[in-house]
């Protein structure tokens, strides 16, 4: 037993070699070497220490279960398994970016997200161009069906009904948590802001709204924001506002199309993000109907055309009924009115009035005539219904004073037109006197006198009256207004709105009988303004309505305007009939859904339309700029939805294990090297 113990010890001792002592002359170098080795070892030891310490620190941190939180740009997706897809198919999604429209990109993005959903996820699809529409009545698990729903979403001409879409999503989620993916270009000044409340309700139910913006880097669009036929005499003008929503200056070609298929081109220069107004003169004679203005724009073509109503433009727009043809030509109202309305004759753009006697009122034609002037007419009673109808339809009626104007002749028959009942005439001054009471300076706020803003207003005060018509006491209102007074306060010009038209009563005469107005410099421009103001309305040729594409139309139509026999039809811009409803008896209500922009016509087949409808896309859809992001609104309401979180315990543990292995390997290598050195 002793041999077994001692033997190995002796053998070990025998294997030990004696350590010899060597005188060595280069100990300086040995010392340097030892220093180097020690320095390296110190670094290695330090490194080992650091690795070991770090491993311990990681383990300690892991025990504390730390979490890292940071703010993301959209909420997390894929958490709930209940997902509603909102696809924006409004007009602005028709923008072309590269070779694809934004709607195509939105569909692709939606399909990609659909693929990422786990089996068993519940989905539904809502489109929200024009009016939001859920393609499913509830959430379902049929992903194939969802795929075909998304593929089937087509571009509309409507605006962005984000509010409706979020509401539909809330209904589909049944006020439970879920995720709402919104594929939209977020364009337009109001869509996102308007949706804030609905968004808040949705988030309040525990849902998260994940906007997936589909837009171009630099949105561009040109659009006709407005177009209308302005007031004017023969050959009036169309005023258009063209807007450039893009970042670059543009010279755009704008074409105006008239109901007789003629076209008028004009070039418009547009600065970035600015609009420009352009006027186009209409030929002297143009049939009435729906005209259009179109701008050439490659980025978004759906809003390039704006439709507007154009009344029949032609001669004989002013009908003057001369109630008192004078003994001499110069003594009659007609003399002064003709020179005021057409100082250079009709051939040079003036309005040569059609002059009739009272019986000529039978020829009053809503199509041709815009304004009727009763100049010192004694008894217009027999034509009162015609006149009332004419004014209600939008025509203008001017009544002037004179010896023939009597209370009996006017008060009863024209009570539906007069601002108030007439009383007896009044002498403001002695009739034998040369002078008279001047017109008080009228307000330039009044549209009739706005043209006098730059000067000439004081010329109006040179008009004087010696004798005037008076009224029973009346209260001014929205429909009855005194536009001008004589000095002293008596009304000089009184307006009454009747239906779609207006009546103006000039309490003096249009000749020199009661005053000097016709020979004053201001008379011509005043008369032209009166005729222009009264004649600029849409008169004749049927009812005119303006509607928005993609929004249901509910519009009253005045009774009697539409013949019901045979049954009327509604034709769309493409010539096809459009389903509609007419409700009511006394006053009809027209209901229909315009899907396309353009001119719609309601009437009996074969007859001129009774109702013209100009359908335009919502102008706010043309604004393709992003004003506010949905994510911004959402983060203001629920910022916690945007926080990302990562649990760090497991990575820290793995890190500690890794460091532990590393230091073990490193230590082993070092030990082997030191053993060899020792």
């Amino acid at each position: 037993m002793g041999a077994l113990i001692v033997g190995p010890i002796l053998a070990h001792m025998a294997r030990q070699k004696p350590v010899q002592r060597i005188p060595y002359g280069a100990t300086l170098l040995l010392r340097r070497m030892v220093k180097r080795i020690r320095r390296k070892r110190r670094l290695r030891d330090l490194l080992l220490l650091l690795i070991r310490a770090l491993a311990v620190i990681l383990l300690v941190l892991a025990a504390a279960q730390p979490r890292l939180r940071w703010e993301g740009d959209v909420p997390e997706f894929g958490q709930s398994g209940r997902v509603v897809f909102l696809i924006d198919n409004s007009l602005s999604m028709g923008q072309v970016d590269g070779n694809k429209s934004l709607l195509s990109r939105a569909r692709e993005a939606a399909l990609k997200r659909l693929k990422q959903l786990p089996i068993g996820a519940e989905v539904a699809v809502v489109e929200f161009g024009g009016q939001a529409r859920a393609l499913n009545d509830k959430l379902h698990r049929n992903l194939q069906r969802a795929r075909s729903d998304i593929d089937g979403v087509q571009l509309s001409h409507g605006g962005t009904d984000l509010v409706g879409a979020l509401h539909e999503a809330r209904v589909l989620l049944e006020a439970q948590p879920g995720e709402v993916l919104v594929f939209t270009d977020e364009a337009g000044p109001v869509a996102v802001d308007e949706a804030a409340l609905e968004l808040e309700l949705l988030l309040g139910n525990g849902a998260s709204v994940i906007p997936i913006a589909v837009g171009t880097e630099r949105p561009r669009n040109l659009a006709i924001v407005s177009a209308e036929y302005g007031e004017g005499l023969e050959g009036g003008s169309i005023t258009m506002e063209v807007m450039n929503y893009g970042p670059d200056p543009v010279e755009a070609l704008v074409t105006v199309g008239l109901p007789d298929n003629s076209e008028i081109p004009v070039f418009v220069e547009l600065n970035p993000f600015e609009s420009a107004e352009e006027q186009v003169t209409v030929p002297p004679e143009v049939p009435g109907g729906v005209a259009w203005a179109r701008v050439k724009d490659p980025h978004l073509s759906l809003d390039d055309t704006r439709y507007f109503h154009l009344p029949r433009v032609g001669a004989s727009r002013v009908l003057v009924v001369d109630g008192d043809p004078g003994a001499t030509a110069v003594a009659s109202e007609i003399y002064f009115l003709e020179r005021a309305l057409a100082p250079w004759g009709a051939s040079r753009g003036g309005v040569l009035p059609e002059v009739k006697t009272l019986s000529g009122l039978a020829d009053l034609d809503e199509e041709r005539h815009r304004v009727v002037i009763l100049a010192n007419v004694s008894d217009p009673g027999p034509f009162a219904p015609k006149l009332v109808d004419f004014v209600r339809q939008g025509g203008g009626l001017v009544i002037s004073g004179g010896e023939n104007v009597t209370n009996e002749g006017y008060n009863a028959p024209l009570r539906d037109l007069l601002p108030a009942s007439l009383r007896k005439r009044r002498n403001l001054v002695d009739l034998s006197a040369r002078g008279g009471v001047p017109l008080a300076l009228p307000s330039i706020e009044e549209p009739l006198f706005k043209a006098f803003t730059r000067g000439g207003r004081s010329a109006l005060t040179r008009m004087t009256a010696r004798r005037i018509l008076t009224f029973e006491a009346f209260k001014e209102s929205e429909n009855v207004r005194i536009l001008a007074r004589w000095e002293g306060g008596h009304p000089a010009l009184v307006e009454r709105r009747v239906g779609r038209g207006r009546v103006l009563v000039w309490t003096s005469t249009f000749d020199l009988g009661w005053g000097n107005a016709p020979i004053q410099a201001a008379f011509m421009p005043l008369m032209q303004r009166i005729v222009g103001l009264l004649g600029g309305g849409e008169v004749g040729g049927g009812e005119r309505i303006e509607v928005a594409v993609g929004e249901p139309v509910v519009s009253p139509i005045p009774a009697g305007i539409l013949s019901m026999e045979p049954e009327p039809i509604l034709k769309g811009p493409d010539g096809q009939t459009v389903p509609f409803q007419l409700e009511g008896k006394e006053e009809l209500v027209l209901r229909f859904y315009p899907k396309l922009p353009g001119a719609y016509a309601l009437g009996v087949d074969g007859a001129p339309p009774s109702v013209w409808i100009a359908a335009n896309v919502a102008s706010e859809e043309s604004d393709v700029r992003v004003t506010k992001r949905l994510a911004t609104v959402e983060s203001e309401i629920a910022p916690e939805l945007f926080m990302r979180e990562a649990r760090l315990a497991q990575p820290l543990i793995w890190g500690a294990i890794g460091l532990g292995l590393l230091q073990a390997v490193f230590a082993r290598i070092l030990a082997r090297r030191e053993h060899e050195a020792a």
Partner: protein, 278 residues
């Protein structure tokens, strides 16, 4: 080194018109005819007169006799008890150089660094056979010992040198370079040729020992336990770096460096010196 090979300066020493250079304390061995009897009579001090010829081309041989030189195993000259040591090589080389220089009429002096048995560590540069014998005797008396201090040995030599003088140092330079490199600069400033023969034993510097050993410094007795096999790689790097340090340091200060391996014939090193290399 312009006069080294032809010995053309010999004639100057013999002529009566040789210019007086300076007084020097008498050293045994100095020619008695050079004693200045007048100074002796006046001051009772033994001084010799030195002439321009003697000081202008003086050659000074500096031999490192410190303990480190007593090691080494590959010197081809055998000389008991210093056989195979760097010191033996240095002594032989110094003697050879002195004989060579004397034969060519150049004044030669000898300076010893550390060492034992040194009666006169500084022998001034002279010519003549008797002077040469004095140098040989000094070399034969030397025993390597003590710690080297090149700076202390070189310091008094520099003032004695003139332009075109020659200083030959035979050493292993096993001191920290920054301690003696300034001395090299002093020689270069006086336009003196400074030639360093760095003696090295190949086996010693390869650390080619088989077993872990205790390495003892002959100079200060310090001991270091090293496993030569395990440390070989590291030591090689240290040696390489030290050699570069010495060589580049000397050259940077204006001197010449000649690596002298003790397993090579010394004529190779001397030939390189004469040829102006280094």
């Amino acid at each position: 080194m312009d006069g080294l090979i032809t010995g053309s300066h010999r004639a100057r020493r013999l002529g009566a018109n040789v210019e007086f250079a300076e007084f020097k304390d008498y050293t045994p061995g100095d020619p008695l005819r050079d004693l200045d009897w007048k100074v002796l009579a006046k001051t009772n001090r033994l001084v010799t007169r030195r002439y321009q010829a003697e000081t202008e081309l003086a050659c000074h041989i500096v031999v490192d006799a410190s303990g480190d030189l007593g090691t080494g195993v590959s010197a081809s000259h055998s000389r008991p008890p210093l056989e195979g040591s760097k010191f033996g090589y240095a002594v032989c080389m110094a003697a050879t150089l002195a004989a060579y220089l004397e034969r060519h009429g150049e004044p030669v002096g000898l300076h010893v660094v550390a060492g034992e048995g040194v009666q006169y560590p500084h022998i001034p540069a002279r010519t003549g056979k008797r002077h040469l014998a004095q140098i040989f005797l000094a070399l034969a008396s030397l025993t390597p010992a003590g710690q080297a201090s090149l700076a202390e040995t070189l310091a008094p030599i520099a003032p004695q040198t003139r332009r075109r003088s020659l200083v030959l140092v035979l050493s292993d330079f096993m001191e920290e370079p920054e301690q003696w490199l300034m001395s090299v600069r002093a020689f270069a400033a006086r336009k003196t040729d400074f030639v360093a023969f760095q003696l090295a034993d190949r086996k010693e510097l390869s650390l080619s020992f088989d077993t872990p050993s205790i390495f003892v410094s002959p100079e200060d007795g310090a001991e270091l336990i090293v496993d030569p096999i395990g440390a070989a790689e590291e030591f090689e790097e240290v040696v390489e770096r030290f050699m570069s340090e010495v060589k580049n340091g000397i050259r940077k200060e204006g001197g010449r460096h000649i690596m002298t391996w003790t397993d090579r014939p010394m004529e190779m090193a001397i030939g390189r010196m004469i040829g102006g290399q280094g």
